[in-house]
């Protein structure tokens, strides 16, 4: 029954190995992310000076939110998957997948999971080193059910992250250069995904609009559950539903772009 999945297990293992080759790079990147955290602590400490809360949350809750975001980024964010897919198309490497019984999306997703496993584990190290300093700012909810509620959101967020990256990769069938689109989208994702500030600080109308967009479910939604910013169970289940809809929509767009893109694709050489 699971035999057809074996090839993706192999892709996952190869992905694990090839990402471990660049472990120093990822570790350095993880270390540098501590600088980002330092900037966050400095900015928000200054913003909170003389006040106990901002937008209904304390300084510690805000810092905890950004620490959670950082961990999530290394565990579920698409790093350069869009470029890898783009390179595969541009260099004709996808030709081999057209001749083999391998689903390109599943192949790439297996490698994505492997890569995030490596980067996710590697970010733990610098965070542990910074823990003596960070500990005073951390205010995670003591209720372990947030962990259970957050994990499905996190898994679907990973799917959304990868699917968006896959969509951009697919654009290579139409455009020679996708980097501009990727970074343009990254600016939107950064703001509407809650990476610059917690989305609940937005004016109420803007927050309601953001909740309808996929970016909200890319990062903010699981982070808000894990850190206790989102506690209403009904709202969380409603969020799951919208998130699942976005996963479905993005998977459909992925499939559409793949089939339409292949019609334009010209395989040259052997």
């Amino acid at each position: 029954m699971f035999a057809p999945l074996n090839k993706y297990r192999q892709a996952f293992l190869v992905g694990l190995q090839s990402n471990l080759v660049y472990r120093v790079n990822f570790a350095v990147r993880g270390f540098f992310s501590l600088f980002h955290l330092a900037a966050v602590v400095i900015l928000w400490s200054a913003a909170f000076a003389g006040r106990s809360d901002l937008g209904g949350f304390t300084l510690n809750q805000t810092i905890t939110y950004f620490v959670t975001l950082l961990i999530l980024q290394f565990f579920i964010s698409a790093f350069n998957e869009d470029y890898q897919i783009s390179e595969d198309i541009r260099n004709g490497l996808i030709n081999q997948f057209l001749l083999k019984p391998i689903n390109y999306f599943a192949y790439r997703f297996s490698i994505f999971v492997a890569a995030r496993l490596v980067t996710g584990m590697l970010v733990i190290l610098p965070l542990l080193i910074a823990l003596p300093v960070l500990a005073q700012y951390l205010a995670f909810p003591r209720d372990f059910t947030v962990l259970l509620l957050g994990l499905p959101a996190m898994a679907m967020s990973a799917m959304i992250q990868f699917s968006i990256a896959y969509c951009f990769g697919m654009l290579t069938f139409w455009f020679l250069e996708i980097q501009g689109f990727v970074i343009l989208s990254m600016a939107l994702e950064t703001v509407l995904g809650g990476q610059m500030f917690p989305l609940d600080l937005l004016p109420a109308w803007a927050y309601s609009v953001a909740k309808c967009l996929p970016f909200y479910y890319q990062m903010y939604f699981p982070a808000a559950i894990f850190t206790g910013r989102l506690t209403d169970t009904a709202a969380i289940f409603q969020g799951y539903l919208i998130q699942a809809c976005w996963v479905g929509v993005l998977l459909w767009i992925n499939h559409l772009l793949w089939t339409r893109g292949l019609r334009r694709h010209t395989a040259v050489g052997g």
């Binding site: 992310s33 900037a39 400095i42 913003a47 901002l54 350069n80 970074i183 939107l188 004016p203």
Partner: protein
């Protein structure tokens, strides 16, 4: 000197011709830059919806600070980023050989080959943000003040260029700088913060003095807000010279490690 000016002009001409060939690309990238600038300004706007002051800086003082940071960043991106970004990949692929055969200093050739006109176009918008914030604050700087502000911005660009070259030079030892060059942008985050926000001794020492990215933007912004401070300008100039010297040294040490195509 004239020789290098000629080389740079030839590179600039090539970059502009290339941009004119890919007009759609130029439009998309200009939009990218504009979006990122808006992200920073929007963040300030959201935070100041909930507070009146950050480390004693009002909303428009903060906009002036961020505008200065964006101006420095746009110049850096416009004049150097593409070349330095490619440098890391070229070291890995072995294409860096190309620069060794060029008629000039390798560091100069490798870091100034490409211009990004889209960033340079957006530097006008960043300058407009600074002017808008200054107007909102009721500032009326004289010609000397504006000239010194320009000089400090140039020093800031040199400091950031040096730090960027240093971080990419890691590729000479690690072979791949994949992902590392991006971490440089983390440092840019500090340049958008007021110096007074750095209250701890460790953060002050590291981010204000050792890595002078905070002073690089705070000094010119303060010059416009509070008036002349030649001592700070002299310090910024000395820091620019010092950082450039370190970057030149590390780059050339790294170059000795370069082994052409590695994979």
């Amino acid at each position: 000197m004239l020789h290098y000016a000629k080389i740079w002009l030839a590179s600039a001409r090539y970059s502009i011709t290339r941009t004119l060939m890919f007009r759609g690309d130029f439009f998309v990238w200009s939009l990218v830059e504009l979006f990122w600038m808006s992200v920073n300004l929007f963040t300030i706007s959201v935070i100041y919806d909930h507070t009146d002051s950050i480390a004693g800086w009002s909303k428009y003082q903060m906009v002036l600070l961020v505008g200065t940071s964006l101006l420095i960043q746009r110049f850096l991106m416009g004049f150097f980023w593409s070349s330095i970004f490619e440098m890391g990949r070229n070291i890995r692929s072995g294409n860096f050989d190309f620069y060794l055969a060029q008629p000039g200093n390798v560091m100069f050739m490798a870091t100034t080959r490409k211009l990004d006109p889209d960033s340079l176009v957006n530097s006008v918008l960043a300058a407009a943000v600074v002017i808008y914030a200054a107007r909102q604050l009721g500032l009326d700087p004289g010609v000397g003040q504006i000239a010194l502000y320009g000089f400090m911005v140039i020093c800031g660009v040199v400091i950031h260029y040096s730090i960027l070259v240093l971080s990419i030079s890691v590729a000479f030892w690690l072979t791949s700088a994949q992902g590392i060059e991006g971490t440089y942008f983390t440092l840019m985050e500090f340049s958008r913060l007021p110096r007074k926000a750095f209250t701890g001794l460790a953060t002050q020492t590291l981010f204000v003095w050792l890595l002078p990215v905070v002073v690089v933007t705070n000094a010119p912004a303060r010059l416009l807000i509070e008036g002349f401070d030649f001592r700070l300008a002299a310090w910024l100039f000395a820091a620019a010279v010092g950082w450039l010297a370190v970057a030149v040294f590390v780059f050339h040490r790294g170059l000795r490690n370069y082994t052409s195509a590695s994979s």
